[in-house]
């Protein structure tokens, strides 16, 4: 059983805090993705779990051991580095078997485990080559193979796909997902790419400036973002956010946008705001579609007539840029017909999918 537990984990370089006391429990066999913008402390956190960085405060435990002062070799973890970090002077086979050799396993075991890992990752034909003779994707697979031969308690991945081109990245993403299904093990995976996070994770940890902003399943962080940062960081295109003021009209709480449009707030949000409160309303492009091209179901909608400034056809859908509340917003047209810039369309905004954030704190009033 390898549960990973971070308690009040702090990292400082001199006086500069980089990780500010984060708490996180990663369950046995769980695939957790740390995601956040560059420089937010993801790698630092991962490297502290690995033992490659000293920790300035708090505790890290793996299984039921506190590992704060254990060197990396005593933590039974494996790590896949962004730049692969293969041993250049060893063949693929030697790279894969290195950790077992260091652990003084006998030849037969090494042979067997290396063959297993090579088989899983399709490296069998490459075993005799050196890293210099491999392509980027192949090196990436060797790095992963080196991690899995050890049967570690925890896998740590630091942006393993960021050096690959888009197509290969997609393929490797699928392979990592399959790998996790095959070799059930706890995985902590770092990336700055929210798509990777959404597709791979059992749970996503969204970080910013050394703090955790939200922890949740991909569906949770997508549908119930705790604050405006998560709302814009997760999902593509990012959530539309508009400043508004609350009021009561006809017995209902509404949000008044800067351009005078009023939107009825969902019932769940209505009792959490007071009249005259400055709020930010948010909605995703999926909840804002031209009539007849998207929204189904019978939730309450607001019909809004707008001019399309720019259509962006993506094949099965078209992103429509228009204006609302004095800001540019994006809507989505499913099964689209051709749209010209400047065309007038009536959009339906699904009011049940409105997010309401307190403007001052940026926090959602819903969760």
């Amino acid at each position: 059983m390898a549960e990973v537990k971070l308690q009040k984990l702090v990292k400082k370089y001199g006086n500069v805090g980089v990780v500010h006391g984060i708490d996180l429990t990663i369950a046995h066999n769980e695939f957790v993705v740390l995601v956040g913008p560059s420089g937010c402390g993801k790698s630092t956190t991962l490297r502290m779990i690995a033992g490659l960085e000293d920790i300035s405060g708090g505790t890290i435990s793996i299984g039921d051991r506190v590992v704060n002062d254990l060197p990396p070799r005593s933590r039974n973890i494996s790590m896949v580095f962004q730049n692969y970090a293969l041993y250049p002077h060893m063949t693929v086979k030697e790279n894969l078997g290195f950790s077992l050799k260091i652990a003084k396993q006998d030849e037969a075991t090494i042979e067997k485990r290396v063959a297993e890992a090579a088989e899983i990752l399709g490296l069998t034909p490459l075993l005799a080559r050196t890293p210099g003779e491999l392509s980027g994707g192949q090196r990436q697979r060797v790095a992963m193979g080196r991690a899995i031969v050890r049967h570690p308690d925890v896998f740590l991945f630091d942006e393993p796909l960021s050096n690959l081109d888009a197509k290969l990245r997609g393929q490797m993403r699928v392979e990592i997902k399959k790998l996790h299904q095959k070799v059930k093990t706890t995985i902590v995976y770092v990336t700055h790419d929210q798509v990777e996070a959404m597709t791979l994770a059992d749970r996503i940890v969204i970080m910013k400036d050394g703090h955790i902003e939200q922890v949740g399943t991909p569906a949770e962080v997508f549908e119930q973002p705790k604050n405006t940062f998560v709302a814009t960081f997760i999902g593509s295109p990012p959530m539309n956010l508009l400043d508004a003021t609350t009021a009561t009209e006809g017995g209902r709480k509404v949000a008044k946008l800067a351009d005078g449009v009023t939107l009825a707030l969902p019932a769940a949000a209505a009792d959490k705001v007071s009249d005259g409160q400055a709020i930010t309303v948010g909605f995703r492009a999926e909840a804002f579609s031209p009539v007849g091209y998207g929204l189904t179901g019978d939730s309450e909608v607001a019909a809004i007539e707008r001019t399309v400034t720019l259509p962006e056809p993506l094949g099965t859908e078209t992103l429509l840029y228009t204006e609302l509340g004095g800001k540019e917003v994006q809507g989505k047209m499913l099964n689209p017909r051709p749209v010209q810039p400047g065309e007038q369309l009536t959009f339906n905004l699904d009011l049940s999918r409105l997010h309401v954030f307190d403007k001052a704190s940026g926090k959602s009033v819903l969760v």
């Binding site: 990396p72 494996s78 790590m79 580095f81 970090a85 293969l86 250049p88 290195f98 050196t130 890293p131």
Partner: protein, 300 residues
């Protein structure tokens, strides 16, 4: 331009001056010395230059005990000196690489011995090991460890050790600086990967750092095997091959034979016999270097 028109192609034409100069300053003297090794050439009898003796010089060499002693001593001297310099240089490089402050200044200071002329180093160590006014004996006596005057440069064993020490003092920085360059250029990632893979610090060094440094070791070895003849100066100054030829190295023996005994033909024959040694070492290290560079995937 028609005046200069030639049937030779431009590349050959352009390289011609270099060829001519090399022929004049390298190839001709080399051929000449090779020729003299087959003559009974004595510096003081120019006419002996034409006295062709065939393989006689070489035949005599084969049975010349002094020559083979010097040959063997040189081989042992080189083996010990180069390995000692390697180990010390590696140690120094590893220590300096760990420094976080003052690295530049230490690096510069470390290179001082390389800046001295070998003759000066020879004089310095001759003074240090002098039996009457030397630093070492003085220290031993002042500290009260012993009041005997130890004749460092007269006893054959200690004389050889003293020369070895001077040589190591002068040339260790070459290893240190080259290996330090290697360490500083080394990527951190494989080291961290090895730590995660279960290596203790010694295993990291043994399996990752050292293989990575091997090309640099071979470069240093190749450079040293080319300039190792500088040791001539120090032997010449410190002991002049004595006592009774017990510190004679090939270079001092050859110089003595050629200039003091004026047997230039013989001296050249010795040179050609011993040059094989040099060529062997240099080729060996270059081979190793090429192989190491191949396996390091061109990182070095």
């Amino acid at each position: 331009m028609r005046f200069f028109r030639s049937r030779l192609s431009p590349p050959i034409l352009l390289l011609m001056p270099a060829f001519v100069i090399i022929a004049l300053v390298v190839a001709l003297p080399l051929l000449f010395s090779l020729y003299t090794s087959f003559t009974g050439y004595r510096l003081v009898q120019p006419a002996s230059l034409w006295q062709w003796v065939g393989w006689r010089n070489y035949q005599r060499l084969l049975t010349d005990v002094d020559f083979w002693w010097a040959f063997g001593r040189t081989l042992v001297f080189l083996t010990i000196a180069l390995n000692l310099e390697l180990v010390l240089g590696l140690g120094i490089a590893l220590l300096i690489d760990k420094l976080t402050a003052g690295q530049r200044i230490i690096r510069t200071i470390m290179m001082f011995p390389m800046m001295f002329s070998p003759i000066l180093v020879g004089f310095q160590f001759k003074y240090i090991f002098n039996d009457n006014v030397g630093l070492v004996n003085n220290a031993i006596q002042s500290l009260g460890w012993s009041d005997v005057t130890i004749p460092w440069l007269v006893n054959p064993v200690t004389a050889n050790l003293a020369i070895l020490m001077a040589e190591v003092w002068m040339s260790t920085p070459i290893f240190a600086i080259l290996l330090l360059a290697g360490l500083m250029a080394m990527p951190r990632d494989p080291i961290e990967a090895a730590k995660v893979d279960g290596c203790n610090p010694w295993q990291v060094f043994r399996h990752i750092t050292l293989p990575y440094l091997m090309p640099f070791v071979y470069i240093a070895m190749a450079i040293r095997s080319l300039d190792v003849a500088r040791a001539y100066d120090m032997v010449k100054i410190m002991t002049n091959g004595g006592p009774a030829g017990r510190t004679e190295l090939l270079w001092t023996l050859i110089a003595r034979t050629g200039y003091q005994d004026a047997r230039m033909g013989m001296a050249n024959a010795m040179s050609y016999a011993s040059i094989l040694l040099s060529v062997y070492f240099t080729v060996y290290f270059f081979r190793k270097l090429a192989a190491a560079r191949r396996t390091m995937g061109g990182v070095a």
